[in-house]
Symmetry: C2
Subunit: 85 residues, 2 copies
């Protein structure tokens, strides 16, 4: 999938810190990802105001991974159900 | 989806730190999620050995969110293609 695509550097701001993401994704996609992570961190912080930034970031990663694994399981279930038709 | 389910506390270890996750998920699912996050953090650390833990955790969250948004777009594309049949 990577033929002809160039590696781009995109600088994003998450929770007040700058991060440079290097990869083949469009800067717009990288900005969307960063915005979603920033929003999720702020959501979790509002529920757990005493978390330090490292624990907040790890809990954000847990949260997103949880969503992803559940969505994968659901997509797989839908595929199996479709195959039964 | 939450009827009759009890909130459970599951303690997991990620990157050498303990986290207690409270929710309705089975402890086995929470452990799988934690293992996936821990693995992703170690992967990113091996590529970027000088990252401090906070930045490592944020980059892990970015990485997982990126996977999730791409997977969502792919699933949506597949649904639209199925509808065209």
């Amino acid at each position: 999938m990577s033929e002809g695509k160039e590696r781009q550097r995109t600088t994003v701001s998450i929770y007040g810190q700058q991060y440079t993401v290097v990869g083949e994704d469009e800067p717009e996609h990288v900005q969307n990802v960063a915005r979603a992570v920033d929003q999720k961190m702020r959501e979790i912080k509002s529920i757990n105001p005493y978390l330090d930034t490292t624990r907040l970031a790890v809990l954000t990663a847990i949260n997103v991974m949880d969503d992803q694994l559940k969505q994968q399981a659901l997509t797989e279930k839908e595929r199996l159900e479709k195959d039964e038709d």
